[in-house]
């Protein structure tokens, strides 16, 4: 093949798309950068989390014994709601400015790109929530010895919450006021994660083994990691193409 032929053939060939990993990291980096540019929004779920936790001693009782009893459940439910609240914006801006359509047209599978977006979302909401939860646990008189388990269970659980919730966010992104609808369709699917998450913390409080609960949380995460990206991708296609 001469030099000239080679040149023509490269022109005629479609440009070689970047590998899957390149696209994945690029999407991840882009989303993290975009989220860091709106730092106020980044803090909102955490403030919401702290605020909801503040409501309970006021609403129920400031008695430490009462609070210690319900602390695991309260922390988990409040963290779950905070994660849910942040989901609505997961695909919203990309949908509005058209970058979602570019993702659909990209040669890389949409499932992988949406997984990168979910990972970015988890890094900046689920992870901070898991780290802040022990701090709020102190205010609720959560018994000693369960703080590490609380953080660990939220770390594992919130990743599943982000993955499952992203399906709902993708399904409702085309609907103008999809916020309440998103909660309606996603909350029932959150129940298994909640059960095992709270179960782990409660087991730690009464000094039982936590391995079974954490293993179940890990299993839920593995299952949602395997299945959710495809559902997210299909839902995004539906939201954009109708």
């Amino acid at each position: 093949m001469t030099q000239g032929q080679k040149a023509t053939s490269t022109i005629l060939e479609t440009p070689v798309p970047g590998g899957l990993w390149v696209a994945f990291t690029a999407t991840l980096k882009r989303d993290v950068t975009l989220m860091f540019r709106r730092r106020g929004e980044l803090l909102n779920p955490l403030v919401f989390f702290a605020l909801v936790i503040t409501l309970f001693p006021i609403g129920i009782s400031p008695d430490r014994a009462v609070l210690a009893l319900i602390a695991p459940g309260l922390l988990w439910v409040a963290a779950l709601l905070a994660a849910l609240l942040s989901l609505d914006s997961l695909f919203r801006t990309d949908y509005d400015d058209g970058s979602l359509e570019q993702m659909l047209l990209a040669p890389q599978p949409l499932a992988a790109l949406s997984l990168a977006k979910v990972l970015a979302h988890w890094l900046l909401t689920g992870l901070p929530l898991a780290l802040v939860a022990p701090l709020l646990g102190v205010t609720l008189a959560l018994p000693l010895g369960s703080y590490a388990v609380l953080a660990l269970s939220l770390l594992l659980g919130s990743a599943s919450l982000s993955l499952i919730g992203a399906i709902g966010a993708a399904l409702t992104v085309g609907i103008a006021r999809g916020g309440v609808l998103l909660s309606l369709i996603i909350l029932p699917l959150y129940i298994p994660v909640l059960i095992f998450g709270v179960g782990a913390v409660q087991a730690a409080v009464i000094g039982e083994g936590v391995a079974a609960h954490l293993a179940m949380l890990g299993a839920l995460l593995a299952a949602s990691l395997l299945l959710a990206p495809w559902a997210i991708a299909a839902s995004l296609r539906i939201s954009i193409n109708g």
Binding site: I167, L171, T172, G174, I175, G178, L181, L184, I185, L187, P188, L189, I191, P192, I195, F196, G199, M216, L220, A223, L227, A231, A234, S235, I238, S239, G242
Partner: protein
């Protein structure tokens, strides 16, 4: 084989064939439900082992409704799968009409459970494992219905509801087992009705008849409502117009 399946996918053919099947389904379901009701309410002996008395007879509505609630969700998800994979429009119409019916059946199961709970448990509501999973199932149904109606374009709503139904059906066993796990951890010692003793034959037979009757009722009602859904969606088609002309 394939032509047969494709025929079922054609709304016109479905409309014609279901007209022939439908009366039989109605007849069978009415006969079964009537027999089961009379037998169960009037001829079955009163429950004595657990001292429930006549209040146990509510199972003749409660159990079939609870069975149906779960079956309807699975059928709806199956119809959604057929719609998403093979683009069979009739399957989507069937899934559309199944959702409200399933929600109603779930509600009936919950309500009859609550009514039964008053004389038996002494309370309208108990966070019992089965009641809780049933309540979650009701929310899943409501979510599918709400998502479908939130879309302004019908096609988008159909596809979104189909995805949600399929995601839901994968989650139903997970929810069920996790709720069972949760309940066994929190179960109070005084409550021992979770393991039902084996039912005597004369109680069990009318229940079986009722369950079969409810299933036939489900099929008959789905056929009927799918037929009206076909007419509603295909109103622009020539064969529907001809049909309307004939009727006038």
């Amino acid at each position: 084989m394939w032509t047969f399946i494709h025929k079922w996918g054609s709304p016109k053919w479905f409309y014609a064939i279901s007209a022939k099947v439908q009366p039989w389904c109605w007849a069978v379901s009415l006969i079964l439900i009537a027999t089961g009701t009379v037998w169960g309410l009037a001829f079955t002996p009163t429950e004595v082992n657990q001292g429930q008395g006549d209040s146990f007879r509510i199972i003749y509505v409660h159990v079939p409704a609870a069975f149906l609630a779960q079956s309807v969700f699975v059928s709806m998800a199956a119809a959604s799968l057929v719609f998403m994979v093979w683009k069979v429009k009739v399957a989507d119409m069937a899934a559309t009409v199944m959702a409200p019916f399933g929600a109603v059946m779930t509600f009936v199961a919950l309500f009859s459970g609550a009514v039964w709970g008053v004389p038996t448990w002494g309370t309208w509501w108990m966070w019992d494992a089965r009641l809780t999973s049933m309540l979650i199932l009701l929310f899943l149904f409501l979510g599918v219905i709400a998502l479908r109606s939130a879309f302004t374009r019908r096609e988008g709503g159909s596809k979104a509801a189909s995805v949600l139904a399929m995601v839901g059906v994968i989650n139903i066993p997970i929810i069920k087992y996790s709720v069972d796990w949760w309940f066994t951890l929190h179960q109070s010692a005084t409550f021992t009705l979770t393991s039902r003793p084996l039912m005597p034959m004369e109680m069990w037979l009318p229940l079986l008849i009722m369950v079969l009757g409810f299933y036939c009722f489900f099929i008959a009602l789905t056929l009927m409502r799918t037929r009206s859904e076909i007419l509603r969606r295909e109103i622009d088609k020539r064969w529907v117009r001809d049909l309307i002309k004939e009727a006038q």
